[in-house]
């Protein structure tokens, strides 16, 4: 790879770091572990930059590397208890004092109760704006599976947040 291509690749990776951190936090819940995940994904992306098909979606490519890293780590830690609880809630201290603060806190607590595969699908579709087909490719499963995960995640959030009750119509 030429120096210019390397410099461009480095710049593009750097621009993705905030999104990678948010995605990693959605998966792991623990901010320190999430940042370690981002670091690992950046190293792997760099080492494999020769295999990246130029012109294709770099964000999707690096996100896929990150989620695969997360999954293989999860398999290694199978016997450990997930320590996602508390970590997401702790990070709320810095969120600020918007009027919607409690609302947001409730949302994050509810989000944390979702299984990892549903959190992932919901974030990729609902927050990152990837298409269902793209997410299916990234996760190596059928489009219908992604749609079902997103629907289940939304259903559960609606139930937990009582959004489907008549009193909760106003935002």
């Amino acid at each position: 790879m030429s120096d210019t291509a390397d410099i461009n690749f480095q710049k593009e990776l750097a621009a993705l770091v905030p999104n990678l951190r948010a995605f990693a936090r959605s998966l792991s819940g623990n901010p320190d572990r999430a940042d370690d995940l981002v670091q690992e994904a950046l190293v792997k992306a760099w080492q494999n930059r020769g295999t990246f098909a130029e012109g294709s979606n770099l964000k999707a490519w690096v996100f896929t590397i990150l989620r695969n890293t997360f999954l293989s780590e999860l398999r290694k830690r199978k016997n450990e208890v997930e320590d996602a609880d508390g970590a997401f809630a702790n990070s709320l201290a810095t969120v600020g004092n918007q009027a919607s603060h409690m609302d947001l806190l409730d949302f994050r607590a509810a989000f944390e109760t979702l299984p990892a595969d549903q959190r992932e699908a919901l974030i990729l579709v609902g927050a990152e704006g990837f298409g269902y087909e793209e997410v299916a490719l990234m996760c190596g499963c059928a489009v219908g599976t992604i749609k079902s995960r997103v629907n289940r995640a939304r259903q559960k959030l609606a139930t937990l947040l009582a959004h489907d009750s008549p009193a909760a119509v106003a935002d």
Binding site: Q10, L42, V43, F107, F111, L122, I123, R152, A158
Partner: protein, 72 residues
């Protein structure tokens, strides 16, 4: 008729909260509200100040690529 109906009743009473009717779409205003909250929570994390470690890491990776043989 009685047997079939009884089985249905039994099955539906075992359905878990949040696990049922996965393909029934939510009312649009509910889905929109969840979408807004999701984006807000996600964007709050994106807007957090970046630790130095990532810039440092990328610089080191780029430097190592320039050393012959250091990056295969």
């Amino acid at each position: 008729m009685p047997e079939d109906d009884q089985r249905k009743v039994t099955n539906s009473s075992h359905r878990k909260v949040g696990d049922g009717l996965p393909d029934t779409p939510l009312p649009p205003h509910v889905q929109a509200r969840i979408g807004r909250q999701l984006k807000r929570a996600y964007e709050d994390i994106i807007a957090e100040p970046l630790p130095d470690r990532f810039g440092t890491l990328l610089d080191e990776l780029a430097k190592s690529a320039k050393r012959p043989g250091a990056d295969s």
